[in-house]
Every structure is written in C-alpha cells, then in structure tokens.
C-alpha cells in the first residue's frame, strides 16, 4: 500500500520497521467487532430477516440493547413517546436505522486498547460517525447509493484507531517512547493498509472494503469510484464541522465548498449550500447516536 511504502519518518525508523513487519506478516491485532454488531449488519442485509429477529439479536447484548433504547428514546427519534421495548423501538424506527445505531454504538473507544490516547480515539470515532451521516445526505443529493453511504462513511477511517493501538503496542514491545505528534504521523502513514484488513476481517460488504481501500485515491477506485467519492465528501463535511473554526488546518466553509471531490461529484456551489442546510438534522442525528 502506498502509504506504508513511503520513506521512513526520521527518528522513528526502529518503530516503523517493527510495524512494517507486523503488517507484512499479517499480525495486526484487529479488534473483534462485537459479534452481535456484525450479525446486526448481516441480518439487515438479509432479505429474509424480520424485525423480530433483529430485536432478539440486540437483546442478546445488554449494553448494546441499552444503548439502542437510549437513542431510540432521544428527543430526535421519539419526541413525544417513551419506548419501552426493543421491538417497539424497531417497529418505530425501522430495521435499517436500528442497525445503524447498533453499529455506531459498537464502534466505540472500548473496542480499542490505546492507553493514554483514549480522547484521540474518541475524537476519531466521532469524526467517522459524522462522516457517515453527511455521506448519506450527499448520496441523496447525488441520487447515488444512499444505503451504503452511512456504512462507508462510518468505516472509512477505521484503520486509524487500530493503527494507534498497533503503534502503542509495538512501541511498548520495543521499549520506544512515543509522543503524540509522532504517533499521529505514523497513524497517518499506516492507517489505510490497516483499515482494509479491519473491514476484511469484519466481513463488511464488498463495497465498504473497496471504499476503504481507495479512499485516498478515489480516481482509481474503478467501479467503486462514486461510493468512494461520496464517503470522501462526507469526510470533508465532517472535517469542516468537527474542527474549531479559526484553528490551524481547519477546513473553513469556503474551503469546503471548493473541495475537488465535490466538483468531481458534479456538485455546484448552490447544490453544496443546499446540502449544508441539512446541518441541524445531521447534528441532531449525531447527538442522538451518541446519547
């Protein structure tokens, strides 16, 4: 993979060669997606499945069930009602939404073992969640695959927390003290290769794997070019909304509107502004998902 073959970062050579070796020998410690979350994704893709099966499945994981109920009862989804059973929640919110809630809930910082970097990982997860929600709106505006957009947006950067975890663990093994700046540059370098391994091991739909693989180079994504561009555009929107305006490197509204990926999606300025008007809806969905 392109990033992993780039020149070593100065001073980090020993750490890098150990990470390289791990990637090459396929020894990356990919966190187990809580089994129930994987099954939820598969179940909602199975045309034979029904709401009852989904409720049963989520019920088998108390923490997940609790989270789904909290989100289902949030102001966004149930302003005037209190939902008391999972089945009622599914009946109210629909299988697809419930599965999105379940997957978003499963991808949380407790999946990753990165002592000292919890808030960094937390930030990345929030960013991915937001990217997924924006990707859906962008897909809708482009009349492209809305169904896959959330999943691809949510998982496009899943390699980051896993890379962080790997870097910390390798550094510990070789007794290398790593500062946050170096960790981030290494994470940037290795996350894509690792991300592909993660979604492959999690048996995500092929389209998700292709998007993660080609995210940095969507022009070469072949048949997956449009979904990859949509995930990428979702990530640009998330970038804009996540950072504190005025902060260095922050994507301003003006910069967002002229991002090449939006032009490549043939989105004109007024159309981008129309998508931006979805901000309140996306923010409420974000708050609800993090309830």
């Amino acid at each position: 993979m392109k990033n992993a073959e780039a020149a070593p970062l100065s001073g980090l050579e020993p750490l890098e060669s150990a990470i390289d070796a791990q990637i090459r020998s396929n020894q990356i410690d990919v966190p187990m997606l809580p089994e129930v979350a994987g099954r939820v994704v598969r179940l909602t893709q199975d045309p034979k499945s029904d709401a009852m099966q989904l409720a049963k499945l989520i019920q088998s994981d108390q923490i997940l069930a609790g989270h789904v109920m909290r989100v289902a009862n949030s102001a966004l989804y149930s302003p005037n009602a209190t939902l008391i059973s999972l089945q009622q929640a599914i009946a109210r919110l629909g299988m697809k939404l419930i599965s999105e809630i379940a997957l978003a809930a499963s991808i949380n910082s407790s999946l990753f073992n990165a002592p000292g970097f919890e808030s960094h990982i937390q930030y990345e997860i929030r960013y991915s969640l937001l990217a997924g929600l924006w990707a859906k709106e962008i897909a809708r505006a482009c009349r492209r695959n809305v169904e896959a957009a959330f999943l691809t947006g949510l998982l496009h950067d899943i390699g980051r927390p896993v890379a962080t975890q790997t870097i910390i663990s390798v550094a510990k093994d070789i007794k290398f003290t790593i500062d946050k700046r170096s960790l981030i540059s290494l994470e940037d370098k290795y996350q894509r290769a690792i991300g592909v391994k993660v979604v492959e091991q999690w048996e995500m739909p092929q389209i998700v794997i292709e998007v993660v693989r080609h995210f940095d180079d969507y022009q070469n994504a072949g048949d997956a070019i449009k979904p990859t561009m949509i995930a990428r555009a979702g990530a640009e929107f998330a970038d804009h909304f996540m950072c504190e305006q005025g902060q260095e490197g922050c994507l301003t509204r003006d910069q967002l509107v002229v991002q090449p990926v939006l032009a490549d999606l043939d989105l004109y300025q007024d159309e981008i502004l129309e998508i931006l008007e979805k901000e309140p809806a996306v923010q409420s969905a974000m708050e609800a998902l993090q309830a």
Binding site: R143, Q206, I207, D264
Partner: protein, 466 residues
C-alpha cells in the same frame, strides 16, 4: 469574468440530441461549443436511462432463460444479490461509450465546456463551472438540448433510499424482495418487467386501465399476460391515495380501492419534465408551453429566432433515437445546411420483457382515421422459429389501408420486436405494398417470417372482400 467568447453554434447538453448536433455542425465547418454540466457525456441516455436499464435487462433475460431451462442447469439467483453484480458490465460499456464520444467530439473539433449554462439574453450564455467560475459565450445560433428529469409528484416522498425515481433506481444496493412501480408508461413497464424477471415481486399500479395505452389492446394484453406469467401483478384503474416509508421495513402504498400494498422499495415513474430550471429561458424571451416543454416549429426553431431546441426538452416521442435526429437537423437548420426529408415515421421501442415495438399507425388510430382497414396478425407460437426458441409469447400485426395493400403501421410484441420492426419500417417508408412481404423470401426459420404470415392474412381477406 473574462471576455465573451464567440462560436457559430452553442449547444447546451451532451445527450443524444446535443452531441449529434455539435458533431454535425462542426463537420460542416462551423465553430461549435458543447456545454455540459456533468463531467460525464451522454446525458440521461448514457448515464441514467437507456444504456444502464438495457444492461440490467440483458442480465434479467439471462436469469429468466436460466430459470426456464432449470432442467438443464439447476439455477437459483442468490437471495442477497447486489444490484451492481447484475449491471456488471455497465462501467465498461459506459467508459467505452464515453471514450468514443469524446474522441468523436475532439476529432470534429467541438470545444467541450464543462459547466452549467444560463441564458443572459437571446444571444449570450453564461457558463458557471463546478468551482463557481463564470464565463460568457455568444452565438447567433443556440441549441437547447438539456433533456428531461423524472417528474416528482408532490405526494410521493421520494428519498432515493426507499422510494426511488428512474434516475436513482439502479443505485439500490441489493435486489429487493418486492417492488411497487407507480405508472404504466414506457419506463414503468420496462423496469417492472425487468425486476419481475429477476425474481422480484413486482406490483405495477396505474390510474389507466392498461399499461402503454398508446398501443393496441392485443399487444398490451400480451405484455400483461407475460408479466402475470412471470409472477407480477398489474393493478389498472387504481389511484394512489397515500404512499410512504413506514419507518420499519416497508414502503406502504394505499390505493383508492382500499387496497394497501407493502413492498421493500418503490419506483415512481410518473413521467418526465423538461430540464430548464437552470437555463433561465425567460432571459432569452422564451417561455414553456402548457405541457412544461419548449415549443418548436418544423425547423426545430423556438419562438425566438436563432434559438433551437431538440430532444426530450421539446417532448414526445422522447426517445434517444429521435433526439439524435432532431439534434442533427436543428444544427443543420440553424446553419443552413441541406438535410433531406425528416421522416415522421419513427419507430417506438419498449424494452420490457417481452419487448414491444411499433411504427406508423396502430390499429386503433387507423380505424379512427380511416374507418375501414385490413389487419393481419401472426402469433409467434405459430412460427417455427418461435416454437424452436421458446419465444411463443409474441405477436406481429400489420395494419393496411382500405385497398388492402398500403401499409399504415406495424406493431410487434415478443423478444426481438425492436429489431424486427425495422423490416416493417423500411417497407412503410418505401411505400411497399403488403404483397412485398409475401413475394420476398425470408430466411427459415426466423421470426421475420411472421411478416409473411400476417401479410398473407391480409391478402386472403382482401381477396374475400373483392
């Protein structure tokens, strides 16, 4: 904004109409700019309509045939089939088409401009590119070939996720278990039968008693019976009262007869609307007619001299084939290039399963116009090739004038109809007598033989009447 750039002809839209117009004008020595708002060329025809739907159809036919031959190959379509798998060669087809079009435009010296056109006045167009930069272009001759987009009825909440239109239907991730199709026109009939052939449970609903009402009843009957035979449901004379995603697992369609249909997905195919929103045609002194289309005269010129329009933006027949010829002619008329006669005899091709095609007058139209006529029909199950190939659900019909000789129209339903029709079209255009089909030797066994069988029926009836 930099200086205004001038051309002999400005063409807006790179669909079949715009593309053919640009190439024709440039080949005749004019300086031509083709303005297209999307990165890809080809318009609805290439990107979202004709070619993608026909690619899916090709696979649907294969699936249907494999099912029919279940004894030969034990075939079952995977339940969670990704739609992309069924339109598998589309990107290759589109890329090849795009390359071909680009090369052709380049070879002809057409300047391709990627941006969105807006009229400033009757001679000037402003083009805004995707990053917001604007440029002015000027010409004595402008062709509007901006095509059409699906009509979105106010009461159908299309979200491109559960409720689709014909632009977004192929973006579905998985083949649904069930699909409701609203409408009974060409696009509705094509998609309904294609998805049904793929094993999706399709319910087609329309306010009219039959789909494809512009065709004779015996043809639509054959289509409906074929659709039913595959497992589809046709609900005519039915109005939709409400339609929504239930938020759980189904799109619910409530009808005025009290029935409620639940399906995984819904396709709304409620006609098409001219693409003019961004053009601001009022700045050029133009307005839409009552049907929301741009009116043109027989030269394809609009109410404003020098501004021409072609393709879907001027309305029926709204076919890629007709749009190409209209575009070419509009360019010729604008630049005073000799064109030859434009035949009004345009065949209609409906790529449903089974296919339908017609040229000239239908039996109903001919009876309304001339009263006494002759009709000859041949059923494919009576033709050797139809029996051999299992293409038995078909029918060819020739409509002849009162003299029993002059061909007025031909209509066909059954696989191969869209190709077979051209034999009838040529006979019609060359004003051949119906006897010509009997005097001509066709290959045996072929479906084309149906022409001979239908013609014989007319000749026989003519003799009886004489």
């Amino acid at each position: 904004m930099s200086q205004t750039i001038s051309f002999d002809l400005l063409v807006i839209g790179s669909g079949p109409a715009g593309q053919k117009a640009a190439v024709e004008a440039a080949r005749n020595g004019a300086s031509v700019a083709l303005i297209e708002k999307t990165r890809e060329l080809g318009g609805a025809c290439v990107q979202r309509g004709t070619i993608p739907s026909k690619t899916l159809r090709e696979n649907a036919l294969r699936v249907k045939n494999m099912r029919m031959n279940a004894q030969i190959a034990n075939f079952k379509l995977a339940e969670d089939m990704e739609l992309a798998t069924l339109i598998n060669r589309l990107s290759e087809v589109l890329e090849a088409h795009d390359n071909y079009m680009r090369k052709q435009l380049q070879r002809s010296g057409v300047e391709l401009i990627h941006g969105r056109a807006t009229f400033v006045n009757e001679r000037e167009i402003q083009v805004e590119n995707v990053s917001g930069t604007k440029q002015l272009y000027r010409s004595q001759h402008i062709l509007i070939a901006t095509g059409s987009h699906p009509r979105k009825p106010d009461d159908i909440p299309i979200d491109h996720e559960h409720l689709f239109d014909s632009d977004s239907i192929l973006s579905m991730l998985y083949l649904p278990k069930s699909l409701t199709v609203l409408g009974g026109g060409v696009i509705a009939s094509e998609y309904a039968s294609i998805f049904q052939a793929l094993g999706v449970k399709v319910t087609m609903i329309d306010k009219y008693p039959r789909p494809l009402g512009f065709l004779d009843d015996d043809l639509t009957d054959t289509f409906i019976s074929g659709f039913h035979h595959m497992g589809g449901t046709w609900k005519g004379n039915t109005k939709i009262t409400r339609c929504f995603w239930n938020g759980i697992d189904a799109v619910v369609t409530e009808c005025d007869d009290g029935s409620v249909i639940s399906s995984d997905k819904l396709l709304c195919a409620a006609g098409r609307v001219a693409n003019v929103k961004e053009l601001h045609i009022e700045n050029a002194g133009l307005q839409l007619n009552q049907r929301g289309l741009i009116s043109v005269d027989d030269q394809l010129q609009t109410d404003v001299a020098g501004i021409y329009a072609a393709g879907d933006v001027i309305g029926p027949p709204s076919l890629a084939s007709a749009s190409m010829e209209q575009g070419r002619r509009a360019a010729c008329n604008a630049l005073q290039i000799e064109t030859g006669n434009m035949h009004n005899t345009i065949p209609a091709g409906i790529y449903s399963i089974p296919e339908l095609s017609s040229v000239g007058l239908s039996e109903t139209q001919a009876r309304e116009k001339y009263g006494d006529i002759f009709v000859g029909t041949a059923r494919f199950d009576e033709i050797a090739r139809g029996q051999i190939s299992g293409i038995q659900n078909g029918l060819l019909k020739i409509v002849c004038a009162k003299d029993g000789k002059t061909i007025l129209g031909v209509m066909i339903v059954g696989e191969g109809a869209t190709e077979l029709i051209h034999i009838g079209q040529m006979a019609l255009l060359n004003q051949c007598s119906v006897d010509f089909f009997v005097e001509t030797i066709f290959n045996f066994p072929t479906l084309a033989e149906a022409y001979r069988a239908a013609a014989l029926e007319i000749i026989h009836a003519r003799k009886l009447r004489a």
